[in-house]
């Protein structure tokens, strides 16, 4: 007799609630990205044209 496989709909397999997993301190690496036009030295993007 094989083991019965549980259905994923069971309460044990729900994701954690948002209020439970809020981070206390900045534990996630945060990179600041430039969202404006890049500087002139980045304009070519290595693609061989201006």
């Amino acid at each position: 007799m094989k083991k019965k496989l549980e259905r994923l709909a069971g309460p044990l397999f729900r994701p954690l609630a948002a209020k439970q997993i809020q981070r206390t301190l900045g534990a996630t690496p945060t990179t600041i990205y430039e969202t404006g036009p890049p500087g002139s030295d980045f304009q070519t993007d290595g693609e061989g044209h201006n």
Partner: protein, 466 residues
């Protein structure tokens, strides 16, 4: 790449979704690699049109300075949200959220194409627990709880075709197995392929060059730390992240004295835990964040209730928070709750081999005593008399670093063992050095989070600070 729909986003009716259009843009080699590349290029689950953005978007460019927050909590002083029995799995809110996400996701047929096998993306690592298992998505920093039966399929039956898996279960669980693969595809945790051996596991070895990766510096009203000297020594050790815990009511000058001393140093992240003082108003904190950009977070404790607030300085990515909790000594540390779980490659790889809290950590308490952790009783000398180098050279200093979660009672049966940070200072009563942290409220044998008070009553503090 299989001939079927593997990862292409073709819905159950056979219509072409964003994924299919994306595949049309790729070369034959690109199509073969796309399931992997597609997964790695997307940091968030893709909705309609998401994959197509890959082919058209330019990479964003870093500003030149990369703000950095350490990859795990350095200390655990803040309590989590109140948990109640039965609330462990998120309840109706999480169920509704999951339902909405499921509805929003493109439909994907669970049917396996031909003789293909299912492969998890390398960044999705299953971990077995006593009652349930979890897939740790180390790229998207998320957890997916799964039945232990699915864990077995993904590990013991890895590389087998769906037919072979169903055959193993004597066709008594065909519906469940289809549901499992539907779930894995919908959550973008893996893909169908003909050659699963072509997709090796991630190398999860952990061996960074720094002798110390993180440090705690405790400060109270009676402290007389020589910040430049301490920070210089941390720089020499390669320390990347510092958490400074000010237990007393702070003035702005107390914080700037430390931050100014770190200017020009090698620290990439400084987290501050400071006692509420009248000067620590939001504009002042944001001013600190702007002036000292390696500041990754500030938590002001003992704040009046009307001050409770949490926000992020968008331009800088600095996390700010006022909490009413009183954090006035190292005894406030060691709190383990779901809010402390961290899912990322660094933490995961480190926790598999080493102690997830103490490894490569040095702590200096408010009196200047050098310890593994301010809550542990043993001192390796005072920083005014002994260098951090000398303390680290002591034979016993790294002794606790090697106690990983697979060696700790109860924790070794927990599916969350590689995404939580351990505590060796406050242990379950009457147990040895290898016992479960006293403040952990999770029971892996029932997969429930118990009320914090019950867990606290069951444990006692091993460590104390004079």
């Amino acid at each position: 790449m299989a001939d079927g729909d593997g990862g292409r986003g073709v819905d159950a009716n056979g219509s072409r979704g964003a994924g299919e259009r994306f595949f049309d843009l790729l070369s034959a080699d690109g199509q073969r690699l796309a399931p992997v590349a597609y997964r790695f290029l997307h940091s968030q689950p893709a909705g309609e049109g998401g994959p197509a953005r890959l082919a058209t978007s330019r990479h964003y460019r870093a500003r030149g300075y990369v703000c950095f927050a350490f990859h795990k909590p350095i200390s655990k002083c803040l309590a989590g949200p109140e948990a109640s029995p039965g609330d462990d799995t998120g309840g109706e809110e999480a169920e509704r959220r999951a339902g909405e996400e499921k509805a929003a996701a493109p439909a994907i047929s669970p049917r396996a194409p031909g003789a293909a096998a299912f492969a998890l993306f390398a960044c999705c690592v299953p971990v077995r627990g006593a009652r349930r298992s979890v897939i740790c998505d180390l790229q998207r920093q998320s957890l997916h709880f799964i039945p232990n039966g699915l864990y077995e399929i993904l590990t013991e039956h890895r590389g087998k075709t769906t037919a072979a898996v169903k055959e193993h279960y004597a066709h008594e669980a065909d519906e469940e197995i289809d549901e499992y693969f539907d779930f894995l595809l919908r959550e973008e945790l893996g893909f169908w392929c003909d050659d699963p051996e072509s997709f090796p596991d991630l190398d999860l070895s952990w061996d960074p060059p720094e002798r110390i990766t993180n440090a705690i510096l405790d400060v109270d009203a009676g402290s007389a730390h020589d910040y430049p000297a301490i920070l210089r020594q941390l720089d020499d050790l390669g320390c990347k992240a510092l958490e400074a815990r000010f237990f007393h009511a702070c003035r702005l000058g107390d914080l700037t004295a430390l931050l100014a001393a770190a200017e020009g140093g090698r620290l990439r992240s400084i987290e501050l835990l400071a006692g509420w003082g009248e000067e620590l108003v939001p504009p002042a904190l944001e001013g600190l964040a702007a002036a000292y950009q390696r500041l990754s977070g500030i938590v002001v404790h003992s704040a009046p209730p009307w001050r409770q607030h949490r926000w992020t300085v968008e331009r800088l990515g600095t996390a700010m928070e006022y909490v009413t909790e009183r954090i006035d000594s190292p005894r406030c540390c060691g709190k383990i709750h779901p809010g402390q779980l961290v899912v990322n490659l660094e933490t995961f790889a480190e926790a598999r081999q080493f102690n997830s809290c103490l490894n490569r950590k040095v702590a200096i308490d408010a009196r200047g005593e050098i310890r593994n952790c301010p809550s542990l009783p043993r001192s390796f000398g005072n920083v005014r008399e002994v260098s951090l180098h000398s303390a680290l050279a002591h034979r016993d200093f790294p002794a606790l670093w090697a106690i990983n979660k697979d060696q700790i009672a109860v924790c070794k049966d927990c599916e969350l063992r590689y995404v939580c940070t351990d505590c060796r200072a406050y242990l379950s009563e009457g147990a040895g050095l290898y016992s479960k942290p006293a403040t952990c409220t999770y029971d892996p044998y029932t997969a429930t989070w118990n009320p914090p008070a019950a867990a606290a009553a069951a444990g006692s503090a091993k460590g104390d600070t004079p």
